[in-house]
């Protein structure tokens, strides 16, 4: 019974934590710009994150080794350090964007000065991480983030062309007006894939498995949570694409503010739809800010061999605790300069894709090594999918920055 409850909560938490500000912006915008034609990227990205999420959880459970320890071990100190610095940069930018997103949501919910809410968001997040246990953070933010399900409900109020939705899941390139539009389509494909497969998700997931004390007996639990949780999470991402395509596109709107996206559930479900969407986003963004700050602290600690863990009292892991506090502070300083959080997240997502191959390659090497994994080594399917996605993200990583520049950040 306890195990079943754990699985159920794990699935809901994985689902509720699937969407963050970057994914929200890119999925809705992708729908508003290209209709249903990018749905196949959501499906592809979901299979990718399931493949590597499962691998990272399995490695953590079997070897009890965190991701960055493996990266250092397999890639060497120098390459590992370069990957660590890049991952920290991406986590910092993403954390900054999420804090900005939380502040924007508080402003639209309660009114008042944006910068005051940035500081309040920082204080709130610091207190949450300091006082709540790892599991409580995961559960509270994951479960309350589930309020974003209003987007799934709202879709049924819109004029969705379900035949086109089905066609959108088949890899395609739609007929577009100009050659630049094709590049923008490619940019959105890259950004969507990256926003679903963000590297911090695997760092955090594996660190969470270690925090929860998983061992080889939790392999099935890991598999169920990843497959069902991420699949249900992708339903939310799909609903956001459908919202963009069927609600915002006909109105010629490409929402550039998180609050603007909430106009869709407000249209379908009235004031309560609006409030549920805003509260759901608040917890989804807040959860992502915490995950990024903690991921940065885990990565630093795992790489340099510091004592780490939320399960330890702060005095027993001082450098780990100082790290996440510093990441939160730096992220807040970035947002207090007045940069648009949505622009920040757009850059962080594109830069994130560049480090994906450096994260996934060592993970794949360990997962397919029988000496490390024993009977829990990758099966045929995990190996095939692992290599396919590694090649895919490597190609996407090469294309990401040129596309960012050529398309003016996807604006055309």
């Amino acid at each position: 019974m306890k195990k079943a409850l754990e699985i159920f909560l794990g699935i809901l938490t994985a689902m509720g934590g699937f969407v963050e500000i970057g994914e929200l912006v890119f999925t809705v915008d992708a729908g508003a710009k290209f209709g249903y034609s990018l749905l196949w990227i959501v499906a592809l990205g979901t299979i990718g994150i399931i493949t590597y999420g499962e691998m990272s959880g399995r490695i953590a459970a079997v070897t009890e080794m965190p991701v960055f320890f493996l990266i250092r071990q397999r890639a060497g100190y120098a390459a590992g350090l370069a990957t660590l610095l890049a991952a920290l940069g991406v986590s910092l930018l993403t954390c900054a964007a999420e804090i900005g997103g939380v502040a924007l949501l508080l402003k639209t919910l309660l009114g008042g000065n944006y910068f005051i809410y940035v500081v309040l968001a920082l204080v709130f997040l610091l207190l949450v991480v300091w006082f709540l246990s790892f599991q409580a953070i995961e559960r509270v933010f994951g479960l309350l983030g589930l309020m974003m399900i209003v987007f799934v409900v709202a879709v049924f109020y819109f004029n969705v062309d379900w035949a086109q939705v089905g066609a959108g899941f088949i890899p395609n390139v739609p007929q577009l007006d100009t050659s630049k539009d094709y590049l923008v389509y490619a940019y959105f494909a890259v950004a969507l894939l990256s926003s679903i497969m963000l590297p911090y998700e695997t760092y955090f997931y594996a660190a969470g498995a270690l925090e929860d004390g998983w061992n080889a007996s939790d392999i099935t639990l890991n598999r169920i949570i990843v497959i069902i949780g991420f699949t249900f999470g992708s339903v939310l991402a799909i609903a956001l694409v459908l919202t963009g395509a069927s609600f915002f596109k006909p109105l010629m709107i490409e929402p550039q503010l998180p609050g603007g996206v909430a106009l869709a559930p407000a249209f379908a479900l009235g004031k309560w739809g609006l409030i549920a969407a805003l509260v759901g986003m608040f917890f989804a963004f807040g959860g992502a800010a915490i995950e990024n700050a903690l991921s940065g602290a885990y990565n630093l600690s795992h790489f340099f061999g510091w004592t780490w863990g939320k399960f330890r009292p702060p005095k027993d892991a001082p450098r780990f605790n100082l790290s996440w506090i510093v990441i939160f502070l730096l992220a807040t300083v970035i947002i207090l300069t007045g940069v648009d959080p949505v622009e920040v997240v757009e850059y962080s997502i594109i830069f994130a894709v560049v480090i994906l191959p450096f994260t996934y390659f060592p993970m794949l090497l360990v997962a397919q090594d029988p000496k490390e994994m024993g009977p829990f080594v990758n099966g045929k399917l995990a190996n095939i999918l692992g290599w396919i996605f590694l090649i895919l993200v490597s190609m996407v990583a090469l294309a990401a920055i040129p596309l960012l520049i050529i398309t003016n950040g996807g604006k055309g």
């Binding site: 120098a78 503010l257 055309g412």
Partner: protein
């Protein structure tokens, strides 16, 4: 003795190699960041052409249409007062920024008239949003019309840029 020396020289070689690798990778990352920063500075100082104007036209189109939608939903009672006012304020800030950018940027001679037209749209949208902030009332028809005009201009500019 000789074996000990060769072992320690191998260790030194490995360390030197790791140091070299690190500096090559760090240099690569720095060059990459410098290139992105250079692109950002160069592109933001270049005079606006049809492509740049089309991006602003798209923004005005989207913000105007979002304003009209906000107004409709507010009048149907689907939004809270706070949400409506804060969202209008955020959109207005963005539209005002576009107007200011258009006003102070250099524009290529062949795109001057388009830029002026776009500036007029941005100013009209800003005035409408500013009135809404003060009076709780937003002219959604005017915003919808503006969105349509901006869309037409955006399409023309994109075709021009394609040439």
């Amino acid at each position: 003795m000789a074996r000990g020396e060769s072992r320690s020289s191998k260790k030194v070689d490995r360390r030197a190699r790791a140091k070299l690798d690190f500096w090559i990778e760090a240099g690569g990352i720095l060059i990459f960041c410098a290139l992105v920063a250079a692109w950002f500075i160069v592109s933001s100082n270049e005079p606006l052409d049809a492509e740049g104007l089309a991006i602003h036209a798209g923004d005005i189109r989207s913000f105007s249409a979002a304003g009209a939608l906000l107004s409709d939903e507010f009048s149907h009672g689907d939004l809270t007062d706070t949400f409506f006012h804060e969202q209008i304020e955020l959109i207005d800030d963005k539209v005002e920024d576009i107007g200011k950018t258009l006003g102070r940027s250099d524009v290529r001679p062949e795109s001057k008239s388009d830029a002026e037209q776009l500036k007029t749209f941005a100013d009209r949208a800003h005035t409408t949003f500013e009135n809404a902030r003060q009076k709780d009332n937003i002219k959604s028809d005017e915003l919808r019309q503006l969105a349509g005009l901006a869309k037409a201009l955006e399409d023309n500019l994109r075709k021009e840029a394609e040439k």
